[in-house]
Amino acid sequence: MNDNDAEHAEVAERNLRILEALLFASAEPLAPSDMAAYLGQGANAEALLAELARRYAPRGVNLVRRGDKWAFRTADDLGFLLRREQHATRPLSRPALETLSIIAYHQPTTRAEIEEVRGVSTDRNTLALLMEAGWVRMRGRRRTPGRPVTYGTTDAFLDHFGLESLGDLPGLEELKGAGLLSGRLPSTLQIPLPFDGALREDEDPLDPDDLDGGRDLEDDPGNRAD
């Protein structure tokens, strides 16, 4: 009789493990009938689910019944952990990625130069977004007519993308070697070596009022009273 009990308990444990795995991996709540086929002969799915729900009741994750189906859900009292939608991490948009990569390779670079490389005008929000993300910064002003603002990347950029220095960005041959650039490129195509220093000789420091507000993002360089 004792042996029988022990065996019984072992079978039940095994069935409970199977239910745990099934419920955990499923994208949808599951009905007992969905799971019965995975359990041993003569197993009582309802009773097993009730036992599982009892065990998980004090845990951070509970097994809950939704209609006649079951699912794991975060315990109600830990609901504060659940994310409010606006905080979702989102993939960077394609234009933003392109702009960021051009700034990384061509820095120090101006908005006009970015547009020249991309072949389309840059949405003013894209640069603002990249600066807000902490990856792009205003470096200074180019010593050319209009004194456009020059952009570069930040330490946070290196950190996020796992680069020790800007020199770690792969060059032309390596982009080809990694299959990112096709082999059929004109010999005129060059990839610049990003400038890693404080200010290049054609750059002036930023003006004192450059850093407050996004005025520098305005299209018309004529607005600048020099």
């Binding site: 975060t74 994310r83 392109e98 996020h160 990112l180």
Partner: protein, 242 residues
Amino acid sequence: MYVDVDGYEGPLDLLLDLARRQKVDLAAISILALAEQYLAFIETVREQRIEVAADYLVMAAWLAYLKSRLMVPQAPNDDEPSGEMLAAMLQFRLKRLEAMRRAASQLMNRPRLDFQVYARGAPEPIEIARNNIWEASLFDLLKAYATNRERGISTDYSPLLRTVWSLQDARDILQRLIGDSFDWVPMDSYLAQYLTTPGERATVRASSFASSLELVRQGKIDLRQTEVFGPLFMRRSKSDPR
């Protein structure tokens, strides 16, 4: 250029397969026998086909050299690597490739995510304090840059059509040029008329060189180079019965 030789992935893959057919541990393998099998195999393939990828021919030339080093005792003042050393290096490379293949299959047999092991099927959005709201990987970034730069040039760029000298062509041309000349002549002089277009120089030289190795192996020509990176001289072999 990559020519498939009976589904092999390069000369090392072919050698490894031949080695396995010796049905002994790689440590106990006869490198000399292996070299002979390889050379015989390439010869058979060449009889059936017009062309074998240069990789395979370079290996064949190297194995022919290895064979000669193994069969001739090393001279005392010979500072070239000994045949045994070359054989050990080849054996090492074969063992390493086989080890990596075994490792790959062991990896694939592990309980893999989404094959035998599963993550939460219905993840619940949670707020994790991260430094970044935006997600992007280095790969995304590089891909965006490369795509963008390529897009920029596609408008005013028509792909350059590169002439590739086939090994067969190179061989025919070389044999025609060398003809019956028993004088040493630099390879580049023979090829002068073909080397005028900068874009073609690399392929002309590479194919001619690979073909010349093959011609040497067949005893049709002799090859001589007196210094590193110096000009390569060639002439008709005196032993060529032609």
